[in-house]
Symmetry: C2
Subunit: 174 residues, 2 copies
Amino acid sequence: MTLSPALEKYILHWGEMGTRWGTNRTVAQIHALLYLSPQPLTADDIVEALSIARSNVSTSIRELQAFGLVRMTHVMGDRRDYFEAVSDVWEMFNTIMEQRWQREIAPTVTMLKSCVAELDDEHDVNGETKQRVHNMLEFLSDAADWYAEVRTIPEQRVKMLMRLGARVAELTRS
Amino acid sequence: MTLSPALEKYILHWGEMGTRWGTNRTVAQIHALLYLSPQPLTADDIVEALSIARSNVSTSIRELQAFGLVRMTHVMGDRRDYFEAVSDVWEMFNTIMEQRWQREIAPTVTMLKSCVAELDDEHDVNGETKQRVHNMLEFLSDAADWYAEVRTIPEQRVKMLMRLGARVAELTRS
DNA sequence: CAATTCTTTCAGTAACGACTGAAAGGACAG
DNA sequence: CTGTCCTTTCAGTCGTTACTGAAAGAATTG
């Protein structure tokens, strides 16, 4: 379990980015390692490759499984758990988007709705302020509705629509 | 400078979310406060409203200005700096998206390109592994191209395209 | 039902980033 | 030029989260 320079670079970078994407460095590194590995790995493989504690692998793997980014598999005649990452990139980003949506946008929309309701009774609050809370709620719930729609469209069709969007951008310019 | 319960809730929540969006709690709280305020505020107004140190306001405001989310203004006959947030929600999210793109996606695409190049010379690396790095690069650079296109389309037209996307989702289902 | 192998839990520690308060730096008024 | 007002810088502290290592737990084998 020794990593080539390019693969090590990939894993380290992914770890850095992970901190910006809601997880910690280790979780993201493990995810990168599993994504790069053609075969499923054991926890001890990961310990060795990344030089981290066994317990750290255990908790990080659990987080990745909860995210839906890593699956557990088994090998006949071997008691150990093996892990592999979802290897389809499109599926992977769908999963990440979904998670982030649930953790960030959905609770915010809930909060905004209750704020709007409460503000109705707060007569000393400036009208412009109320309007801005309203605007934020409208923006996010429109976006939420749109995202919910898009999620139901099959991958191939989304790709098609994206190409269409790019086409329109060109027409707009000319 | 006293906040109503609903506004306080808004600001606290925004602060929480800020930590998930690449900034820290204070920066996000200040941004929320300025967004909610119908008039520009001074640094001391912010100190009082959020109970934080003056120096903390100074550095946080700088970060918000660098993000392009807050502008400085002045009042005739008053030496102090006043600050106001971009109040248009659409513009605000465009700005946030652009920043996050530059900080997260762009460097990753750069990293992936160099990885792909280096992997060409690393003959002991598994073919499937190389393929996966390639897939990731392709996905992200396609997404980057698409995003660059969309950014050039005027707001109204993007909204139209979003509605069109939702429409297609409905057609797909029936 | 002991011994072995693997996994998980958890308390303590280490590392990191945010925040404060004091001091320095600038700009203006008298 | 001096004092006042406002802003910025920075060293130190505080708080939070990640990580480790030891111990407990669970599953399997002979």
